[in-house]
Symmetry: C2
Subunit: 327 residues, 2 copies
């Protein structure tokens, strides 16, 4: 068998995923669009061997819960089932960023795990098939596999719900300036939070408006129009957080620093700089801008009280293997 | 003629008013429910005289804009028209709280002005008719006229859209602990902001859900059930702010301290204290609680960074005259 190491980026959704049609297969209620993030990656090494007596899962530099280990072994079971092989794996994983803060660590994690495990067990799957498998592990993980800018087609059944690149990472040299305002783990995970989407009076309106936004955001990226892209992503992020906040119980992911960064972005725009925010299921704020404005925006954000660190990302490749050794 | 001095309270909406059916007559899209606030009042003295050559409007301790003066003289014109008298007025007004911060200064102001002006010009109107007239001046002013807890019936035409008390101020000794987090005037007034309500994808769902909430909130007040009342008002406040934030352009009334106070309220509840927040069209947070918990909640809120002052309110009478002098 071979030992495969895969690096997979986190991704930032421009049109967000919130709510599932099927809990079991993680089929979402709506299409979503994302960009891979060069500065936030998971590196995972997988090795299968008949010499192993059980799965051995290690996170370097982090402790993980029994529940997370079980989610990973369940995913390895899926890979073994497809490959018709009953052998255990050794998995070593490392994140370049803190877990559970709304940086999509489960996205990059399950993207890396799926690509590494399928290659290590010698499954030859199409990219589409790998995105479907990754999606069953963690929904938005499917978007971290294709190159650059991904479109996750919601689909209606598992085989329809996959991600593909619609423009490559080289298409547009924009930035995602990630302002980390909290490194604490979220009280409510996305998986748990989105189970209650239907308790919000607004969820159906949100879903109804998505197809038109998907078209507009793709057009804006194809035209490299930062102002059009920015205003759609800000609108979509707010609209998702309003669904969350109106759920029962209400789900508040913003904190006071989140709000100060949002105000900082409005202030930048008032001064003429094209900067736009988006916020995943967590308190951290991603600022989308052109490469030309990167420096000034980073400087402005450093001054905001409560911003703990800043990670500058550009679009990048999806999950890909960086080494393989026969032995 | 007589000189009349009226004191009118601000009011806090438990079920909020946002959006009009008719701009001109200020007929709202939905019914609303409120409580008069003992600690935030406007005192207005009105005197009509054929000796005056024009309206003379003074705000003690504050400067007011031409636009505000015009809004007041337009309202005096309505009173003169109904009374069939062409005489000018001298108006002196004083607020016990800062203007334009989401404390409903135009509510208490137009309630006091309407009651004082109609009495000074010797119009004998029913309370219902006075609330209708006040509403045309400033929508939520109609709720500051009846005693204690008001129900503003949206109606479909001007003569249907009035407020009445559904339980008196003596019914329930609860508190509204107003945490002032900003005394700056709002960038966008409520009047201006709500003109865009129909640009939110969520406004219709909000309106559809109101009748049921009106019934539940009245029931909770009648039963003096703080937990039921509190959870409905929190839900309604968040739902209104989500409509505002999803308008085009988005309307953000919260600031970072607003969010810290909201978190403080959640923390109080986690400790077992029945405290619930509501937020009008501004950054200030009102905490609704029983009199028993007033002291502990005030102490907790004083510790929150950014809380500039705290005003403790109880339910009180609506607009009423406090002096009249024949001369």
């Amino acid at each position: 068998m071979i030992k495969i190491t895969v690096v997979a980026p986190a991704n930032i959704a421009f049109i967000k995923y919130w709510g599932k049609r099927s809990e079991k297969f993680r089929i979402p209620l709506n299409d979503s669009i994302s960009m891979n993030l060069s500065g936030a990656a998971t590196t995972t090494t997988v090795e299968f061997s008949s010499a192993f007596e059980k799965d051995d899962i290690t996170f370097s530099g982090e402790t993980i819960s029994e529940k997370e280990i079980e989610r990973i072994t369940t995913h390895l079971d899926r890979v073994r089932r497809i490959a018709h092989k009953k052998i255990y794996a050794r998995v070593v994983t490392k994140n370049s960023f803190p877990k559970g803060t709304g940086i999509a660590s489960s996205a990059s994690g399950f993207a890396a795990l799926t690509v590494a495990a399928t290659q290590a067990i010698d499954l030859r799957l199409s990219e589409k098939a790998v995105t479907i498998l990754a999606r069953i592990g963690s929904g938005s993980a499917c978007r971290s596999i294709p190159d650059g800018f991904s479109w996750w087609h919601a689909g209606k059944k598992s085989s329809d719900s996959y991600a593909e690149s619609f423009v490559p990472s080289t298409w547009w040299d924009i930035r995602d300036i990630l302002c980390v305002v909290s490194t604490e783990a979220k009280k409510i995970s996305s998986t748990e939070g989105m189970e209650n989407i239907r308790t919000s009076p607004y969820w159906q309106e949100r879903i109804l408006g998505i197809p038109e936004k998907i078209g507009r955001v793709q057009q804006a990226i194809k035209e490299r129009n930062i102002n059009t892209l920015g205003s759609i992503i800000e609108e979509d992020a707010i609209s998702m957080h309003c669904v969350m906040m109106t759920q029962k119980p209400p789900l508040f992911y913003w904190n006071d620093t989140t709000l100060r960064v949002m105000e900082g972005v409005y202030a930048l725009r008032a001064k003429g700089f094209p900067a736009y925010f988006t916020i995943d299921a967590g308190p951290n704020v991603h600022i989308i801008c052109r490469s030309e404005e990167e420096q000034i925006i980073v400087e402005e954000m450093k001054r905001i009280n409560g911003v703990q660190s800043i990670i500058v990302n550009e679009p990048c490749l999806g999950a890909h293997s960086i080494s393989s050794h026969l032995f």
